[in-house]
């Protein structure tokens, strides 16, 4: 047996955009075991419910994570709306869907860039982020913010997307689609990219199921799970199918996410085509009393929200379970037996969002 050595990885590491610490037990170049330790970003924002009322919490919830910020704000608001029995106007639901898909687009393009960076393809990284800036321009045009939108509130949304803005979004979608097709060619067909991704970090369907993986990570292992099929917001009225791949390796995960970029573009077009006229927010009266649990699909996978109110402005409890938390077990499984040089890729491949996980 080769000599074992333990290599600390992180929290500050060039490949890692976020602090997570892994203790890697190595045997020569192979990883035998990976022990994650977390807590570098723990803020304890769930406990802020004691100091902020339920309307203010919508903005705190958005800041759980800056990349999937819209989803968190939406998940929280929708949960509270269910407790209070508020009927959200149809237009608000469509607007939320459009913003949700825009945020998924920017998140997936961001991931594609980070992935390219992780396997050392700087140029591709920059190309992905160049395309992503166009999506951010759309978001800025409609909401005023670039990464934190702050357009959700309990009862609906606070801004509208005018017909001119819709046209600008559609134009951008054409551009993004055209550019992503070019990027896709490199990701899917380039020899050196394939050699870094094919067959690396394979997670079988059974393993993914047993470890409770979520989102694109699970879909790449052939599990057709997509919470959007539940039909919350306006998803019920739009056509969509979960995108899956059966490879279970890094290549498969890349394929799924790139497929989802096109899917999001399609969903935005559908939503803009069908958007009804009307109010954008319902009137909110009283305080939440009761509890509700709901599941939505974030760019990184399934996120669960639980809120319990007690009839006062301050909620009793707010709880979020994030997709990265579900995927960490799968990550540690794929790390076993991996080459040391592949660690960076494998960590990025689950699209980790540590600040969601630790809150």
């Amino acid at each position: 047996m080769a000599k074992r050595s333990v290599i600390p990885y992180g929290p500050q590491h060039p490949v890692l955009p976020e602090p997570i610490h892994l203790d890697l037990v190595l045997e020569d170049e192979k990883v035998v075991e990976a022990i994650p330790s977390i807590g570098f970003i723990h803020r304890g924002l769930e406990k802020l419910t004691e100091k902020r009322d339920f309307n203010q919490m919508a903005y705190v919830a958005e800041r759980i994570c800056g990349i999937c910020s819209f989803g968190h704000g939406y998940g929280y608001c929708e949960t509270v709306e269910h407790i209070m029995g508020i009927e959200v106007p149809a237009r608000a639901n469509y607007l939320r869907t459009i913003w949700f898909e825009l945020s998924r687009l920017h998140s997936h393009l961001l991931w594609a860039g980070l992935m390219a960076d992780a396997f050392g393809f700087e140029n591709l990284f920059y190309q992905c982020w160049r395309v992503r800036e166009k999506v951010l321009d759309c978001i800025e045009l409609t909401t005023g913010g670039r990464v934190i939108f702050s357009v959700n509130k309990v009862g609906g949304v606070i801004k509208d997307i005018t017909p001119e803005m819709q046209k600008a979004i559609l134009d951008t979608m054409d551009y993004v689609e055209k550019e992503t097709k070019i990027l896709k060619k490199t990701f899917m067909n380039d020899y050196s990219v394939q050699s870094r991704m094919k067959g690396v970090g394979v997670l079988t369907k059974e393993q993914a199921h047993a470890l409770g993986c979520a989102g694109p990570f699970a879909r790449a292992s052939g599990i057709a799970t997509d919470m959007r099929m539940r039909g919350y917001a306006a998803y019920g009225e739009l056509d969509m199918e979960p995108i899956i791949s059966n490879d279970g390796d890094c290549y498969g995960r890349c394929e799924v996410r790139i497929g989802e970029i096109f899917q999001s573009i399609d969903l935005i077009r559908q939503a803009i085509g069908k958007i009804p006229e009307g109010e954008i927010a319902a009137v909110v009266k009283g305080n939440p009393d009761g509890e509700y649990f709901m599941r939505i699909e974030q760019p990184r996978g399934e996120a669960d929200y639980y809120v319990r109110g007690n009839g006062t402005p301050n909620l009793d409890r707010m709880r979020v379970r994030t997709p990265t938390f579900a995927n960490l077990a799968g990550l540690c499984e794929t790390l076993k037996g991996a080459d040391y040089a592949d660690i960076g890729i494998l960590v990025v491949t689950i699209d980790p969002c540590i600040s969601c996980t630790e809150r």
Partner: protein, 160 residues
């Protein structure tokens, strides 16, 4: 007078930020804002970095990490706090695990406000940081930097 003749290299550490400011820091360096065309490179190695960009507030777990990264940087060094979280604690100020802004553990030179801080503001902060860097460099040349730091720490001790 000694002039800076090369571009500063920045290092970015994510305190307990929500990622919003992180991705904006990266957006500064990638196309559209593209500070890299001036040679400003995001390095992962504290020993090669001139400017430390810190996002997010300080909590009990990452305080020693931030201190260690700061002490590994060679003189002269500048710290830029990006986003209200790094300035004061921001929205998370009242959370039980938050000690406050980055200045709780290391000296901060430039504060960039915003939630999330916009790339324009971050670049502005870096440019201000270069000014501070220039001053420090001159002091380092004529040997007054260390003295000043000593005075700083003495003052701090008195305050404590």
């Amino acid at each position: 007078m000694y002039k800076i003749t090369r571009s500063p290299w920045v290092m970015h550490y994510d305190g307990s930020s929500c990622n919003g400011c992180d991705i904006e820091v990266l957006a500064c360096l990638t196309p559209v804002y593209d500070a890299e065309r001036f040679g400003i490179i995001n390095t992962g190695d504290p020993m090669q970095a001139d400017i430390l960009l810190i996002t997010g507030s300080i909590n009990t777990q990452n305080a020693p990490v931030v201190k260690q990264i700061y002490s590994q940087m060679s003189d002269p060094k500048v710290v830029v706090a990006v986003g209200v979280c790094a300035c004061t604690g921001g929205v998370f100020k009242d959370c039980y695990n938050i000690l406050g802004g980055a200045d709780q553990v290391i000296p901060v030179d430039v504060y960039v406000p915003g939630c999330a801080a916009r790339p324009q503001a971050i670049i502005d902060g870096i440019v201000k940081g270069i000014g501070v860097f220039q001053e420090r460099l001159e002091k380092l040349e004529n040997g007054t930097l260390k003295q000043e730091e000593k005075e700083d720490t003495e003052e701090k001790k008195e305050e404590d």
